[in-house]
Amino acid sequence: MKVLVAMSGGVDSSVAAALLVQQGHQVIGATMQVWDYCDLEAGSGSCCSSLDVDDARSVADRLNIPFYVINCEAQFKTSVIDPFVQSYLQGQTPVPCVNCNTFLKFDYLIKKMHELECDYLATGHYASIENSGETPTIITSEDSYKDQTYFLFTLQKSVLKHLMFPIGHLKKPQVRILAEEFGLINARKKDSTGICFVGKGDYAEFVSRHADPASLKPGLIRRHPEGEILGRHNGIHHFTYGQRRGLGMDYHETLFVLSTDPKTNTVWVGDEKFLYSKELSLKDCNWLDSLPLDEDVTVKIRYAHRGSKARIIEGSQVEGQGLGEKIKIMFHEPQRAVTPGQAAVFYRDRQLMGGGWIE
């Protein structure tokens, strides 16, 4: 089979490519260029920077496969960076990796896959495809710690039959061993962490640099529920729900960020107990399979969350499509820091069912 492999320069996607070559597929490697490298000072460690492209190219040379750098700068800016900045300015905490998957990896690259007459698109995601039923399903990887299915909830059903996740059945240590065996240059390379386009600075600094200066307004820090003014801040984008440190204040109680209001530029802080909630509203949901309305489902409210049981309490079945775009769920147990802008992702056992954005 002819497979287009998205290679970031990291060890996961490199081993994915190597496995496919070993299995006898006709493999084409590609890196998405999402940022002008002259701009970003960061070397490696922040995903697709130019040193990482060199690593990907080295691996491709080692595997004797064609390798291309695909320019996605414009799409990346409109689909990932701009919404990321806007989200923070609206007082939310975004998950840009999901947008990258939605619009770039599994949209733009799928198109490239068709253009180059390939049968599959493969990535180094920790996820698995199961083909036992009528339509393929995505299930969590063998490595539950590294599992990345959280970021895949927006995938369209039509795309699943073209996907391969060659390392989904492996655990990270096994992947590194394979990389050594294959003689890949990045076998010992550190995993990239954080947001790939943010580089050296932190996300707040990035937002400050890329937002319209008029939208970066200072404001008040107030205590919930009384409304007492506790201090000032330099922009709500510096704060995220549930944050404890960095409040810039000296207070005898431990206070947490409870919400940020873009209309009044107010950051509300309060006692930890206010961070807990059971109900959750979701919008722009995407479903890979039909969710049962009368059964428990496991929901992750952020990547690092372990997942908790919940039930759907509001949501209509759309004719022929299953659940619609907006639903409400209720957790069995109160959950800490349900953060607007994050995604809530649904699982039935190990199967990825879909998810939506937390309002």
Binding site: A18, V21, Q22, G24, Q26, I28, Q33, D36, Y37, C38, S50, V53, R62, L63, N64, I65, P66, Y68, V69, I70, N71, E73, K111, K112, H114, E115, L116, E117, Q174, L178, E181, F182, G183
Partner: protein
């Protein structure tokens, strides 16, 4: 999973036959060049050495210089070997400015350089880097025509010190009237330089006929090894060195000479004659024209560029409607065809070519453009195969993009 040495289990690259149609980017070794390389491959000596080891290398240099000079109808003394045409351009542009300053000609006035908007980056970007000069750029329109009004007006005040206009453009193949431009430059009191990289091997070159003072050439664009350039400096003109050090090239360019590379250039130039270059030009032109007419007949939505003006006989440049140029290039590569797009490379991305944008092409046109450049050894069979595959590939890409 057993321990695997993947290179032993690798399936080799798809065994598609490869067809090279990107001669404006670089060329394979010519027959004479290959012979010269093999003949001299063990001549390791330093040409500057007094002893036996330097004798033949020194002779190789001398003979190559004579051959290059003869093929351009100039004196051997006027030929300086550099490491590349980019270096030649740097040597000439920076050297002239330094010389002007040293001679005090421009002590009160800022050195004024007249160039075009479509020059190679080693001219345009170099000019940007030189401090304290004024640069005027003659526009070139999308048909490949240089704005002669602008050119003559710019020279009117006799304030221009140096003109630098390329002989032929590497992207569209457009050829500029160097003889006329050189004459006008001199009448305007300016020195004249031409980047003639794309001209060697594609047209007759008789530099004295052209009224020029400086010219740049590249060996690897003419079926020779990479790592050798030529700077033609008219006798009597003084030019400070760019690279200082030992006294090589009569102290005009330091650094132990690339003997093997220069040997290949000498051999190719030695085999060159007006008859040969005209024969090859005619050959490439016929193939190129045949290719264009088949494309016109068989593929919809192709817009050819710069055909109404003189162009190099081997180059074809056109935009393809309804597709992404990058995808077309990749798809063609996977099928074994090497061609180029209208995009330059910067920081790894594919920005639309500044030359095409300067000529008035839109970003979309620039990003969906293809450049095909034939060589002396391109065959009819290769061209015919290319057109057939180009057609099916474009049709497929258009379908996917619907």
């Amino acid at each position: 999973m057993s321990s695997t040495n993947i290179s032993s289990t690798l399936t080799s690259l798809q065994s598609t036959s490869k067809i090279y149609l990107d001669h404006n980017a670089t060329t394979p070794l010519g027959e004479a060049a290959r012979q010269a390389l093999l003949n001299h491959i063990d001549e390791f000596g330093n040409p500057s050495s007094i002893h036996w080891a330097g004798r033949i290398p020194k002779m190789v240099l001398r003979e190559a210089r004579n051959a290059v000079a003869k093929s351009l109808n100039v004196q051997p003394l006027e030929i300086v070997f550099t490491g590349s045409a980019s270096e030649s351009n740097n040597l000439i542009l920076k050297g002239v400015v330094d010389q002007l300053r040293a001679q005090g000609k421009a002590s009160n006035t800022v050195p004024k350089i007249l160039t075009s908007t479509v020059e190679h980056p080693s001219v345009l970007y170099t000019l940007e880097q030189i401090k304290g000069i004024e640069v005027l750029k003659v526009p070139v329109d999308r048909s490949g025509t240089l704005d002669m009004n602008f050119y003559s007006k710019a020279l009117e005040s006799k304030a221009v010190h140096l003109v630098s206009i390329m002989t032929a453009n590497n992207e569209t193949g457009s050829v500029f009237p160097i003889g006329k431009l050189g004459k006008m430059a001199h009448e305007g009191g300016a020195l004249f330089h031409t980047d003639a990289v794309q001209a060697l091997g594609k047209m007759e070159l008789d530099l004295p006929r052209w009224n020029i003072d400086f010219a740049s050439f590249s060996a690897h664009k003419f079926y020779c090894l990479k790592g050798v350039g030529v700077a033609y400096i008219k006798r009597g003109l003084e030019l400070p060195s760019l690279i200082h050090g030992g006294g090589q090239e009569r102290s005009r360019r330091a650094g132990t000479e690339n003997v093997l590379g220069i040997a290949t250039l000498g051999a190719m130039c030695g085999s060159l004659s007006a008859e040969l270059v005209n024969e090859k030009s005619k050959y490439m032109q016929e193939l190129r024209n045949h290719m264009e007419s088949r494309i016109e007949k068989e593929i919809q939505g192709i817009d050819f560029h710069c055909r109404t003006q003189p162009r190099t006989p081997n180059t074809s440049h056109f935009s393809v409607q309804g597709i992404n140029g990058e995808s077309l290039l990749m798809a063609l590569d996977l099928k074994g065809f090497a061609v180029s797009t209208g995009a330059a490379c910067s920081g790894g991305s594919t920005e639309p070519s500044p030359v095409l944008l300067a000529m008035g092409f839109s970003k979309e046109e620039a990003q969906s453009s293809l450049r095909v450049s034939l060589g002396w050894r391109t065959t009819l069979e290769e061209i015919d195969r290319y057109v057939t595959v180009l057609g099916s590939t474009i049709r497929h890409l258009r379908e996917v993009n619907l």
